[in-house]
């Protein structure tokens, strides 16, 4: 696994806009916070895993979710791996809507510690992600065997997970992108 960097959104909010509320609302706030996040990406190695920490965020509206998650994945998602950490149920609602609009997916760790994929994804890919996450790492044949799938189905699921940057491929083994 490559290097991991955690970025606390409330700290970014305080630094960029001097707001202490922990509410990520309005598009202009989202834009400013995304700018602060992107600043912290500079200097990170390509393919680094970046954990965006929502733990101290109270409210996340859709405009902010679009700026902070949607645009971040669109603009930097091919160069880095992103994981959302400490998201609440309400955060997930806003984020999922944004991801559906852009047809993107991202790994999230919820406040109760569950790891899940947010955003549109084929059911087979979602199942495959769960297996990869639970097992630590797997290859195509192991995945197909475990799920009693044809190799093609397993490969298709892995291709989707890879293209959505939800798993990393290293020495022919797939690892879930988690922090």
């Amino acid at each position: 696994m490559t290097a991991m960097r955690r970025i606390d959104l409330t700290a970014v909010l305080e630094r960029t806009l001097s707001k202490l509320s922990g509410d990520l609302v309005t598009r202009s706030t989202g834009k400013a916070v995304r700018g602060g996040v992107v600043e912290q990406l500079a200097g990170l190695e390509r393919e680094a895993v970046v954990e965006i920490d929502f733990t101290t965020v109270r409210i996340l509206d859709i405009s902010c979710a679009d700026e902070i998650v949607g645009k971040l994945l669109i603009e930097h998602g091919t160069a880095k791996y992103f994981v959302l950490h400490g998201v609440s149920v309400a955060h997930c609602d806003s984020i999922v809507q944004v991801l559906e609009r852009h047809r993107l997916a991202v790994v999230a760790r919820t406040r109760d510690g569950r790891v899940q994929v947010l955003g549109p994804l084929a059911e087979t890919a979602r199942t495959a992600f769960r297996v990869i996450f639970d097992s630590g790492s797997t290859d195509r044949e192991q995945l197909a065997r475990k799920l009693s799938w044809p190799i093609d189905t397993a490969q298709q699921a892995l291709d989707e997970l890879t293209s959505q940057r939800l798993v990393q491929l290293s020495a022919n083994r797939y690892v879930a992108v988690t922090a």
């Binding site: 707001k19 509320s21 509410d23 609302v25 309005t26 598009r27 202009s28 706030t29 109270r58 409210i59 996340l60 509206d61 859709i62 405009s63 679009d66 700026e67 949607g70 645009k71 609440s88 149920v89 309400a90 955060h91 609602d93 806003s94 809507q97 944004v98 609009r101 852009h102």
Partner: protein, 296 residues
């Protein structure tokens, strides 16, 4: 010449069109006559402010407004923060009660101006503790309803900041709908007298609708297709977010702009999903109603 616009006795979303009809026409200084008004919802009050702002900006002088003669009604308007805002846009006639804007539990957010992003932050900040107490306490909704409520409120207010081209107002109140629903509700009302949905979306949407382009199709495009005046594909999601939230909690969402009104109708209501050909009213008015859980 003074033109009288009667403020309905019961002034809410159901009598708003009658009020808008009274406002139609040109010329003369407007006199908004609320002396006999005995009840006004947050939607009525923010709409009245938008009407006053529009009249003042169009007519070059502030319109007149007669204060409700019923002392309790006038005090309620004062507690809601109405007169504090109205003083800028109306020449007030009648006795304005010297009652501070309320901290009472039914007024979750007094009538608050929305002029920019900082106001939206302030509104969200102000609402959280009180809405949590009302939504999960009195309305019996899941605790996650509170966070979504602030999201919906934020998005509704941002429509003013992003699209109206002028300022507007928001108010949030809880009250018991004895006759209409038999349950307690929380209501978000947002109004502005800005450019409205049709004009906002004209440049990006009108061509694809051709002759069908009007206030109704503009509202449909905004609500159901996520249309926005911006080319950015991430824009135009706010109303969809509000609708999702309302659907989850059996709520009602209604948008009025120009001569049309579109409504997401919950099972407990019998409103029309889309009404065209209403009396024209400037800007946009948003109503979000979240009812108590069944049995509360």
């Amino acid at each position: 010449m003074t033109r009288v616009v009667e403020v309905p006795g019961q002034f809410d979303d159901r009598t708003f069109d009658q009020f808008a009809k009274d406002m139609e026409g040109n010329g003369g200084r407007l006199l908004f006559d609320a002396h006999a008004t005995h009840w006004a919802s947050p939607y009525g009050l923010v709409g009245l402010l938008a009407a006053g702002q529009h009249a003042a900006e169009q007519g070059g002088q502030r319109p007149l407004l007669t204060v409700p003669t019923d002392r309790d009604v006038a005090q309620y308007w004062a507690r809601s923060g109405f007169f504090e805002q109205a003083a800028e846009w109306f020449e007030l006639h009648g006795k304005v009660p010297r009652v501070p804007t309320s901290q009472a539990s039914d007024v979750l957010l007094p009538i608050t101006p929305v002029r920019g992003s900082d106001d939206v932050h302030q509104v969200v900040e102000m609402i959280q503790d009180r809405s949590a107490a009302i939504l999960s306490g009195e309305l019996g909704l899941d605790v996650t309803a509170t966070m979504g409520f602030a999201m919906a409120l934020s998005e509704a207010c941002q429509n003013i900041v992003e699209h109206a081209g002028t300022s507007g107002w928001v108010a949030v109140q809880a009250y018991h709908w004895k006759r209409r629903l038999g349950r307690k509700v929380v209501v978000i009302a947002v109004a502005d007298a800005g450019v409205g949905f049709r004009r906002t979306l004209e440049a990006t949407q009108a061509a694809s609708f051709g002759d069908r382009w009007n206030d109704g199709t503009a509202l449909e495009a905004a609500l159901f297709q996520g249309a926005s005046r911006f080319r950015d594909p991430g824009r135009g999601q706010g109303l969809a977010g509000i609708t999702r939230y309302a659907n989850r909690w059996e709520g009602k969402v209604s948008l009025r702009s120009g001569t049309a009104r579109i409504t997401i109708v919950p099972s407990w209501d019998e409103d029309d999903p889309l009404i065209d050909g209403l009396p024209n009213f400037p800007g946009s008015q948003v109503l979000i109603i979240i009812p108590a859980a069944q049995g509360q």
